[in-house]
C-alpha cells in the first residue's frame, strides 16, 4: 500500500501555518487604528499664565523679599519696545525684516532682558507688560515668550527645590530663564 507524501515534503506549496494565527490580530489592529487615529492629537495646546493687575482681580504684584523695584516692558505698535527700569527708559524701535516689513525687535529685547536679569534682577521673577490696544495678539504672545526666556524642564529632587518652585518632590516643573510671572498693566505712552 502506497502512503501519501508527508506534509513536510510538499515544500512551500501550502501557507505557513503560523500565519493563520495572525489574522485575528490583524482584525484587531484594523479596528484599533481608526479609533486611535480619531483620538490622536498632533498639535499640543499650551497655556501662558498671566497675572492680573491688583486693581482688577487682586493679582499679586508682590516682588518678594521686600524689594519693590518694578521692571516693565512697554509694547507700542508704532514705536516698538521700551524697557522701563527705575525711571530709565531703553527704547527698541521696530526693525525692517527681509521682506521690508516693520517688525518688533525681539532679538534686541531678549538680549537686553538677559543682561538686565543677570546684572540687576537675579532674584526677581516678575515683570509688568504694558501693551497698547492696537498691538496684534500674536505679537503679545511673542513678547511673552521673549520675556519668560528659555524653558527647561526640571525634576524636583529636594524639599528646598519643592519650596522654591511650589511643587511636590518628584514632580516635573518648567523653569524659565528670565521673568516667568508676567503682570498685565497699562501701556505707557512715551
Amino acid at each position: 500500500m502506497a502512503f501519501p507524501p508527508s506534509k513536510s515534503r510538499r515544500g512551500g506549496k501550502d501557507k505557513d501555518p503560523g500565519e493563520d494565527h495572525l489574522i485575528p490580530i490583524m482584525n484587531l489592529m484594523v479596528i484599533l487604528i481608526p479609533f486611535l487615529l480619531k483620538a490622536a492629537v498632533f498639535v499640543t495646546t499650551v497655556a501662558l499664565q498671566v497675572t492680573l493687575p491688583a486693581s482688577s482681580a487682586g493679582g499679586s504684584g508682590d516682588s518678594g523679599g521686600g524689594d519693590n523695584r518694578v521692571l516693565m516692558v512697554s509694547v507700542n505698535n508704532e514705536n516698538g519696545f521700551a524697557i522701563i527700569n527705575e525711571g530709565a527708559v531703553l527704547e527698541y524701535p521696530k526693525v525692517t525684516d527681509s521682506n521690508g516689513n516693520k517688525v518688533f525687535d525681539f532679538e534686541g529685547l531678549s538680549t537686553k532682558l538677559d543682561e538686565i536679569k543677570t546684572l540687576y534682577y537675579e532674584d526677581h521673577n516678575e515683570i509688568y507688560l504694558g501693551v497698547q490696544p492696537d498691538v496684534l495678539y500674536a505679537d503679545v504672545i511673542n513678547t511673552m515668550d521673549i520675556v519668560r526666556g528659555e524653558t527647561n524642564s526640571l525634576t524636583i529632587e529636594s524639599e528646598e527645590q519643592a519650596a522654591l518652585y511650589d511643587s511636590a518632590v518628584g514632580t516635573r516643573v518648567n523653569v524659565y530663564s528670565l521673568f516667568p510671572n508676567i503682570i498685565f498693566g497699562a501701556a505707557i505712552a512715551l
Binding site: M29, I33, T45, N174
Partner: protein, 172 residues
C-alpha cells in the same frame, strides 16, 4: 507543429498559485503605526476644536492648560464653556464702551457661583482658585483680549492663561 505557440518555460511564483498573501510584513507595518498612534493618543482632545475660525498663535512654552474653564474668542463668535455667547464685533463694541464685556461677564459670574456652590457642597475648605484659559484668534488686537482677560478677572477667575500652539523651534 510549426506555427503553434511553444509552451512557456517561465514558472509562476509559488504564492500566486496558492492565492494567499504573506501578512507578516503587513503585521510589522501595523505594529509600527499602532505604536505611533498610541504615543499621540489623548483623552482630552484638542482644546481649539470648539470655536470655528480660530487660529491660535504659536509659543515655545511647555505648560499644559489641563481641565479648566475656557473661553474661545474666534474670528466671528465668542464661546464660553462650548456655548456661543456673542459675536466678536459686538464684543469689540462693548469693550470700547466699557473696560469689561458685560454680555460675557454674566455667564462667567454664573459659572463662578456654580463652582463656589460645588466646592461648598463637597465640603472643601481651601478650594483651588477658579481657573480659565482664553483661546483667542492670532490676528485679534490686544484690546479685545485685554477686555476678555479683564472680564474673567472681574467675574472672579484668579488664574488666567492664554492658550497657544506649542512650537519649541519657534525662535531657532
Amino acid at each position: 507543429m510549426p506555427g503553434a505557440p511553444a509552451p512557456s518555460k517561465i514558472r509562476r511564483p509559488q504564492h500566486e498559485e496558492d492565492g494567499g498573501v504573506k501578512i507578516t510584513s503587513l503585521m510589522d507595518m501595523m505594529v509600527i503605526i499602532l505604536v505611533f498612534l498610541l504615543k499621540t493618543f489623548s483623552t482630552q482632545g484638542d482644546l481649539s476644536s470648539s470655536a470655528a475660525n480660530l487660529v491660535l498663535p504659536h509659543s515655545n512654552v511647555k505648560d499644559r492648560p489641563g481641565m479648566v474653564d475656557r473661553v474661545a474668542v474666534g474670528q466671528d463668535l465668542i464661546y464660553f464653556l462650548e456655548s456661543e455667547v456673542m459675536s466678536t464685533p459686538d464684543a469689540i463694541a462693548e469693550k470700547t464702551r466699557n473696560y469689561f464685556i458685560p454680555t460675557l461677564l454674566a455667564p462667567m459670574k454664573a459659572r463662578i457661583a456654580e463652582i463656589i456652590e460645588m466646592d461648598a457642597r463637597a465640603g472643601r475648605d481651601n478650594p483651588d482658585p477658579p481657573k480659565i484659559v482664553i483661546l483667542a484668534h492670532t490676528q485679534h488686537l490686544y484690546s479685545l483680549i485685554e477686555g476678555v482677560v479683564a472680564t474673567a478677572g472681574q467675574a472672579g477667575y484668579q488664574d488666567v492663561s492664554l492658550a497657544a500652539l506649542q512650537d519649541l523651534r519657534k525662535w531657532e
